[in-house]
Amino acid sequence: MSAALAGLKRDTRWRWWEFALFAALLLSWVVLPGRALLLNEIAILALFAISLDLVLGYAGIVSLGHAAFLGFGGYAAALFAKLVMPDPWVGLGFAVAVTALLGLLTSVLILRGSDLTRLMVTLGVASILHELANKMDWLTGGADGLQGVAMGPLITPFGRFDFDLGGRVAYGYTLFVLIVCLLLARKVVHSPFGISLQALRDNRLRASSIGLSVNLRLVAVYTLAAGIAGAAGALLAQGSGFASLDLFDFHRSADVMLVLVIGGTGYLYGGIFGAIVFKMLEDLISAWTPQYWNFWLGLFLVLLMLIGRERLLSPRSWLRRRGA
């Protein structure tokens, strides 16, 4: 076989830890039924972070307004359940489709300008949607949130399941969507399209000089990422039977950025590891000292940035330093 083909196959083969991660995700549903609510939040945050990773980590587009898509997906799913039909699967499909459309339309805003421009533009789009959801209270319920959303049962090959208060059904549903999106994203980032995103992130001039349309690719990845973020929003709204303005809030956009800072960008799984660390920290610290959660999170971030993720999180590098 050709050396190049063997090399390219080496780049895309499944690593043992990827299998371990997928197994752990599935196992968590079986062995930790009591923590389903927290796990569900983690999984949704992870899905949201994977969406941002495609834009930020792969294509190099910074965003401080990714919550625009989370909120839009959430409201779309909740409104669909309330006004059209309560089936979660159809609602999820609807939310993904309209959010992807929103991504397609707003992608023109991130094509030009510098990183600072993009930070401001994305922030602005999220603010506009936040305010629209607030003002259009005849549709969205305004500041009170969208009430009276009754979700139908989840129809699966294993039977029909009603969303329960313990979050077990919701977590199973979220896990399924998370794994499907992960597999899809894994396919995409190893494809020529995915590699070309990294190429244009590294050097747009050269990317166009080998014949790649930079803008077309940015539009495509932004649309895809918006759809995935919309799915995360839909899962949040469907699992809780509620959509509120908080979905569009700035802290959602900032948190998901922090998740990627913690977990790392550009290798697809940073969102999952980051979401686990972020939510566990939040859970532990706020149980221990509820008022000062932000202080400890801030301290953790400062240390993470100063010491570096590699050195902080990889025990192997501690050993190497001692040995050296």
Binding site: L8, S191, P192, A199, N203, G211, L212, S213, V214
Partner: protein
């Protein structure tokens, strides 16, 4: 011989500075054409105008008899016009193998695929094998480009352009910074390109120019100063004066 690449009264001004003034240039099919001139003569600006990185202030660019002045840079590559850069422009977080596989895929349209993994389209891996071997990149094909030694990066710069299957190849000082001994090797690979590939070379090393090129255009202050075959340019006293008078072969 038919003309493959042509400019008509091309002009580029940056504010008050005229970087390219009234350049009308013809490159014939299969040409080995050199573009020389002292520093600041506007050689790289001209390449940027040809490839669509810059838009001209006035004048037109023609490829295969069609006006491409308004055509986007990436579409010109699709029409067969490919360039290298004087200062390496590479994908620092990819590996040489990925860079080449992507460049090869981009020409067949396979780079838009988002399902099959990179390099699985027919012919891509084979072309990469050849390029990696030609440019001695086999042993570093899995290293990230940013970790490569300068010499290897320079080779990858040229290899990336050749991966795009050029019909018209614009080489902007391809051996800049390459050790003396390795220069000939790069030119051997370029010389081995099929005869119908047209090459426009910007180069400071006059020995290389006179060995490689059959025709030469001399740019001075953004305009065409002299044109002709290698022998007549080499013998032209005005060209000698420009070079000797303005610092000879030195560049920076």
């Amino acid at each position: 011989m038919s003309v493959v690449l042509e400019t008509r009264a091309l002009e580029k001004r940056f504010g008050g500075i005229t970087a390219t003034s009234d350049v009308s240039l013809k490159v014939e099919t299969g040409a080995r054409h050199a573009l020389i001139g002292p520093n600041g003569a506007g050689k790289t600006t001209l390449i940027n105008l040809l490839t669509g990185v810059l838009a001209p202030t006035s004048g037109t660019v023609w490829l295969d008899g069609r006006d491409i002045t308004g055509l986007a840079a990436h579409k010109r590559v699709g029409r067969g016009m490919v360039r290298t850069f004087q200062i390496n422009q590479l994908f620092s977080d990819l590996t040489p193998l990925q860079s080449l596989a992507l460049s090869v895929s981009a020409q067949s349209g396979a780079s838009a695929g988002f399902w099959k993994a990179l390099g699985r389209a027919p012919g891509v891996a084979e072309t990469c094998d050849t390029l990696l071997r030609q440019f001695h990149l086999e042993d570093v094909m899995h290293m990230r480009v940013k970790h490569l030694a300068y010499g290897k990066r320079r080779l990858l710069e040229i290899a990336t352009a050749l991966a795009c299957k050029p019909r018209v190849l614009l080489l902007d000082e391809p051996v800049a910074g390459v050790p003396e001994g390795d220069r000939q090797e790069i030119f051997d690979i370029i010389n081995a390109l099929p005869g119908d590939v047209s090459i426009l070379l910007i180069e400071h090393d006059m020995d290389l120019v006179f060995n490689f090129a059959k025709s030469v255009t001399v740019l001075v202050n953004g305009g065409v100063f002299a044109e002709g075959d290698v022998a007549s340019i080499a013998a032209d006293p005005r060209v000698k004066a420009v070079y000797l008078g303005e610092g000879g072969n030195a560049h920076g």
